[in-house]
């Protein structure tokens, strides 16, 4: 009888202890502040982080815009008391860096992604790792090569002088796959139209260039130059043209034949891996680095590709989108 009488008290005690532990656990959850612009690409990446890390991690998002102030980031940072800050886009990374300085906080580690030249953006910043957003040429070429009947030995690229370091790094990666980058270097202060025209003239008259890689750089890649230089110069050139923008691979445009874009969800999953490395090291960056993006979405302009090159039909199942 006594036991029966005391049972509820015992249950309450255990329940209280359990709930207390649960509450404590919640307080101790691994909170991550994510600074990100609005948009499906960033939502995908955030989803990739959350789903890869699982329920034990609490992501607090702050949508950043051009108008977001450092003070707003500081406020969100203080409220979240995050173990790590993930900063997306150059705006998010800049706000992260500024907030850190204002808060005199170099202890909270950061992960930077989805911005232009993340490697340059976080150079000399302590306790931060990142993932570049630019797809390395080797990734593009390995994916393209697996579709083609003909080998790829040399790829032509037109680039600005300020991209020398990026081209050099890409050349190193490509060399591992026995592919050479033939770059035409243009001074940053050159006239874009004439420089692009000359560069394409030079590349397309060479018989040893197997592929042309179009870099996402507004200097050379804009509506005016596509119409006035790229399309006329590449008309009749019977080799693949690889682009990094899906709209440029539409068959009716007769420009790009293969597009490779970042897989934002997988990029988030890759960032989650960096978060876990930081956690394993005791919530600090043990190995400062900028990784390359691993995963891509491939779109093939089959009509365009068939008109210039042999395609291995049995490999089309490896392409995310085939446009005809």
């Amino acid at each position: 009888m006594d036991q029966v009488k005391h049972a509820p008290t015992w249950i309450v005690a255990v329940a209280t202890a359990f709930l207390g532990a649960a509450a404590f656990g919640q307080d101790e959850s691994k909170r991550i502040l994510v600074l990100h612009p609005a948009g499906p690409s960033f939502d995908d990446a955030k989803k990739g982080i959350q789903e890869t890390l699982g329920d034990g991690y609490d992501l607090k998002g702050l949508v950043v815009t051009k108008e977001t102030s450092v003070e707003e980031v500081q406020k969100a940072w203080k409220e979240a008391a995050p173990k790590v800050v993930v900063a997306m886009d150059n705006r998010g990374v800049a706000l992260f860096k500024d907030a850190r300085v204002k808060m005199s906080d170099s202890v909270t580690p950061g992960v930077a992604l989805m911005g232009v030249r993340i490697d340059a953006t976080i150079r000399d910043v302590q306790n931060v790792v990142g993932i570049n957003y630019e797809i390395p040429a080797v990734t593009t070429i390995v994916n393209l090569r697996s579709l083609l009947s003909n080998p790829i030995k040399k790829i032509g690229v037109v680039h600005r002088a300020s991209m020398d370091d990026m081209i050099r790094k890409n050349a190193e990666f490509c060399a591992q796959e026995n592919v050479e980058i033939v770059g035409i270097r243009v001074p940053d202060d050159a006239d874009a139209k004439s420089a692009l025209n000359d560069a394409l003239k030079e590349l397309t008259k060479r018989s040893d260039i197997d592929v042309l890689l179009v870099i996402n750089d507004n200097f050379f890649l804009n509506a005016k130059l596509v119409k006035e230089v790229w399309l006329p110069r590449l008309s009749g050139w019977k080799h693949p043209v690889v682009v990094g923008v899906e709209s440029l691979v539409k068959p009716e445009l007769k420009f790009g034949t293969f597009a490779v874009l970042p897989d934002n969800y997988a990029l988030g999953a890759q960032a989650a891996g960096l978060v876990q490395e930081i956690e394993d090291a005791g919530w600090k960056v043990e190995d400062p680095k900028v990784d390359q993006p691993l995963s891509v979405i491939k779109t093939l302009n089959l009509r365009g590709m068939k008109s210039c090159c042999g395609v291995q039909q049995d490999k089309l199942g490896e392409v995310d989108k085939v446009l005809e």
């Binding site: 990734t139 591992q176 997988a266 995963s295 490896e318």
Partner: protein, 228 residues
């Protein structure tokens, strides 16, 4: 009157239950895209409703939210869902397990694996992957988990991993994409479970249908035959 009104509804519901297709969820990372695998399987498994998932999280979430009648998944993943009982095992060269292989650019020393970075495709949630890989290679390397098979090779190209861990059946496909001097190292006693087919209830129809899959479809699932 009420019963009279209900009869057609009950009959319709009964007929719907009789004719509704068995729902099959598939998750098996391969070079082929999920939509392509889905179209190929759906064409062969008429009378069944096939959904192929490209993301592990989508697969596991949907199993909880809208449970299927059967699942096709790597053995390690299928074991996470005890409500589903294995009725058919995918096999290669007569076995439901295949040898585990490490692919690398430099020689891999088995004893040093515990300090190595090893790339692997995630077939389980991240924490469970550690135990899974340890059970295969015998030590606990640092894992670089990717979401797609095609993402393994870049791990080697960019020096992010010292080796990648795959089943023997994937070696040629991965090496075939690269012109780098890749080396393979067999994992001593390391075995990877192939795809299995599991169901909640009677799966005799699906079993018969799976056995009619052609070489191409079975290849997409990483198997060349089925065993009980």
């Amino acid at each position: 009157m009420k019963l009279h009104r209900a009869v057609p509804w009950l009959a319709a519901a009964f007929l719907a239950a009789q004719t509704s297709a068995d729902k099959i969820y598939v998750f098996f990372p391969s070079m082929a895209k999920p939509n392509v695998v889905q179209a190929a399987l759906q064409a062969k498994l008429s009378g069944h409703e096939v959904t192929v998932f490209g993301r592990l999280a989508d697969f596991t979430t949907m199993i909880k939210q809208t449970p299927p009648d059967a699942i096709l998944a790597p053995k390690a993943l299928a074991e996470q869902f005890p409500d589903f009982k294995v009725f058919l095992k995918g096999a290669r060269n007569g076995g439901a397990l295949e040898p585990a292989v490490l692919i690398s650019t430099k020689p891999v020393v088995a004893d040093a694996l515990a300090t190595a970075n090893v790339g692997v495709v995630g077939v389980l949630e991240r924490p469970a992957m550690n135990g899974y890989v340890k059970s295969v290679v015998g030590s606990q390397p640092k894992l670089k988990i990717v979401t797609k098979v095609e993402d393994l090779l870049p791990l080697l190209t960019f020096g992010s991993a010292d080796a990648i861990l795959v089943g023997e059946g994937q070696v040629d496909e991965i090496k075939g994409r690269s012109q780098a001097a890749l080396q393979t190292t067999d994992v001593a006693n390391g075995k990877i479970g192939l795809l299995v087919a599991s169901a909640k209830g009677d799966a005799s129809k699906l079993e018969a249908a799976l056995k009619t899959l052609g070489t191409a479809e079975k290849k997409m699932l990483g198997v060349d035959s089925w065993i009980k």
